[in-house]
Subunit: 304 residues, 4 copies
């Protein structure tokens, strides 16, 4: 299939769309990003790369980073991880708070904020320097050195992230954090601030399309069985309250972030990433979702 041609077509169609969504403004530093940025990258399991737009420009990965910390946590904890965090879709974010209360501080899945805080806690307990460990993990995944925290973004989120402070303290109250909330939050805010480009993202997630084996660095990242399971959680929980709609419209396991990035996995074939900072109602990139939908329509590709 001529992926480059299809990316070009998608780009042309998306360029014409007036409504671009709204750049996240609850983190002041994120609101400064220009809304006309757009990039896509597709990388096949034999490491061929197709791109369009600003595919080398780094953006704030935000929740996409939860994919990497979850992979680390699964490798650390194995099945016991699922005693501290569920693997079921959360329903609305409104429900997720009620759920935390009614299910004794066990978050419904690792991709809602409360779940990601528990995952952060696991990494903090495992490594002497948690923040270094996540950078090192991603750098090795994508075989690139310039993966870093954006300290301005991390600071901006720490100064305004009252809701995340609330969540961490709730979970601690239920004894589902081993570390102090402030340490878990410091790790979490930094993790979310990691900046990556679309090209880097496709490299770092290629193992998910390749049964856990990273073809770029010739290293096994996680087992084949765990890879399938990571993909299943991406599909059912990876895109905020819109997992059902995403599966319906795109049909690929995906992870999105409020920085406007999305990465999607077609098992055995490729990963595709897209970046456009304007968000829809659910916090997913508006044009990013549209671009993925166009892409899967044109290619007739879907896991279903």
């Amino acid at each position: 299939m001529d992926y480059q041609k299809i990316l070009n077509e998608v780009y042309e169609e998306v360029k014409g769309i007036k409504e671009k969504g709204k750049v996240a403004d609850y983190i002041p530093e994120l609101s400064l990003v220009a809304n006309d940025n757009f990039a896509m990258a597709l990388r096949t399991v034999d490491n061929r790369l197709y791109t369009i737009g600003e595919s080398k420009k780094q953006f704030s990965t935000q929740s996409i980073s939860k994919l990497f910390t979850l992979t680390m946590a699964i490798n650390i904890e194995g099945k016991t991880l699922w005693k501290r965090v569920g693997k079921e879709p959360a329903g609305t974010s409104f429900n997720s708070l009620i759920q935390l209360e009614s299910e004794n501080g066990v978050p419904r899945n690792p991709f809602i904020n409360s779940g990601a805080l528990v995952v952060s806690d696991i990494i903090l307990s495992e490594y002497e320097n948690g923040k270094e460990s996540i950078l090192k993990f991603i750098r090795e995944l994508c075989n690139c050195e310039n993966i870093n925290f954006d300290e301005k973004v991390a600071k901006s989120e720490a100064e305004t992230g009252y809701r995340n402070v609330a969540l961490a303290n709730f979970i601690k109250d239920f004894n589902n954090l081993d570390n102090e909330p402030k340490d878990v939050l410091d790790f979490y805010f930094h993790q979310c601030s990691i900046a990556m480009s679309c090209e880097e993202l496709t490299a770092a997630t290629l193992f998910l399309a390749n049964q856990g084996y990273n073809p770029i660095t010739a290293k096994r990242i996680t087992s084949e069985s765990r890879t399938k399971r990571l993909n299943s959680i991406l599909l059912t929980c990876g895109t905020y309250d819109a997992a059902g709609d995403f599966a319906f419209r795109v049909g690929l396991p995906s992870k999105s972030g409020v920085g406007g990035g999305i990465v999607a996995i077609m098992p055995h074939q490729f990963v595709i990433s897209v970046w456009s900072p304007g968000l829809d109602y659910h916090g997913n990139s508006l044009l990013g979702l549209k671009a993925l939908e166009l892409f899967t329509e044109k290619t007739d590709i879907s896991i279903f």
Copy 2:
């Protein structure tokens, strides 16, 4: 792949399991079914059939029937269907009630009871004789005549189904039913009582593995695009509160019923059904889920 050999192996392993779950007892008539029943059937898109156990014995499809009514409703309503029912996982059944209230009577998806009632309402409004229409639809799907309501089961559920009466009246109060609750409930209780065997189920659902085209009867049931979407809803919403766990352990779009049946779809390849009346905590067949998990482990088959 030697599917028969694998079914045999799964059967041997499952036979040895002591804990069989608990037969549904909230519908008195269902509680009479013997818990040692077990059957599996696998049917490939080129209509080869592999079976084990009592694969010709009919059981109460219960919620599996929602798959057929949803297909009918999508064909009737097209995209406007999604204004009356969502397509997002519901979280816990506890939340689904709160959700109905906070989202003005629009059920979160067509597979929770409230959503299935809205789907029933659509069919009732379309056909002069709703109950005949669903029987006719399924008979044509599986090319078999002896698909019928189990009137004893329907009556048993009508006499004890206070919660479903409550749901239908709530939805009516929100103006999301066009027909009277009692008529919608009569259709719904009958639909759930439809009896089918594992073999019949694989025939009736084969179009879902074959892009909407029924190879047995050489008829298009629904479009390729709608078929993908049906499968995506099965994956994210098809197995009660356990959709995430099901995707994680089985990795196939599936629909279960409290009669102990489950049907799962491997797109482009086959459908597989299993029946064992004992249920787990979530209302899914305990040994049925186990059997599907063993099957996908042994075959290494998954959409992920």
Copy 3:
């Protein structure tokens, strides 16, 4: 104190208010009542009566009738009543549904609809003819014969009361109704349709201001201790979601109905009733509440 003078003053002030609230329209028959009706009546424990406006005109008591059925149920069940219904304020009506689910079908208090349905069930189980028994009870209380159901209102509510049908079936599903939901609902819809005038209401509730003893008929209605408790429930639960605001502004145990009536108790001194059909946001009579607030300000009367 010159009660008549104060009623006159209140009437003059209230007449000048433009905003009269909205007559209940969810029961079609109720929406036909003219919004310029206004009446007040005050009856002292030595049976002196003061009135203003259309104090002899009957209106639909609606939820005020729950006060009479609760008195009957307390006399039937004694303390065991509180195993089937709570005596705590319900928070919002939204919460009351969640609460019914999380507390296994035990309504939070006897004045929310779910609680009144349980109370109705108790009366139905006790008397051969439940509907006659409530009419007889109220007729004896006020020493007047023309207390009747308004069959048009009862029918109107039965035809449109889907939410109450839902509630009754939920409670039945939790095994907290002994009778069939349809019978409980028939009793409930009739009870709510009872028509009374302001004067009749003050007579029928005078025992609440007089330690359980009806001075008009020289009969004990319930014990002194139960009378205090009835008043405490009126104060904490008697006025829908606005019990706190009512206690804050009026400071008397009160019961309101969506027919626009309110009755309030000043223990040891008097009962006061008011009728004005237009309702506020919470379903309480807008001018009725205003009139009671003016009355307690002018008289400096309050239980606090």
Copy 4:
């Protein structure tokens, strides 16, 4: 009435009760208090004092202190206070969290923790030194100098009060705190740690039984109208989830704390306080509630 005789009788009856409840242990420092402490004090509006037990021994007032901060906040803000905090009973504590979310960070009343945090915020914004201001206010109320924070208790609560940290950050996220959560929490934890004896409590709250005028110091504390309203909020919201039960059994406006203290108001007559550290399921003093119930039974006193 011979109050001393009745206190003696109540004491004798309560002494014989084996089940004493459980001393609060979620604040480590509180758990060290011996469970056999018991005290009562009654002070009439003409400042006669009746006591039994350890009525001069100070204990941790905890939530009782919210009564004093609410009085301060009403005097500071007047009616605008009710835009930032409601005055309705909260239903269950479980619901109060949902409510905070669904009502945009406006706590349902000033006596649940979230509401008390908003009240604390108001005091912090008004006074240069918030912590000194509350001590000064209470010292003047009871005309006694030795009212102080228990720094050990405040520190103990600060170290383990993750849920309160969560609440403060949630409310801040909804923009309903002007100060930083950590400052509000520091004030709040100190306020709760204030130690008072039963005798001191009756002196400090005597204005509530005397229309806002403190007869001991001959000072007006708040207006007559605000006093009635404070009492109404005490009755509907003062005793955690058990306000309805408290009104039913005791029939007086009351405020309780997890230190085991309760203070109750009989308008125009007296205030009565009781201390027994063992708590019931709702967090109210088990023997304290029992003692008040016996007292009101014996005296036949009630606002109803």
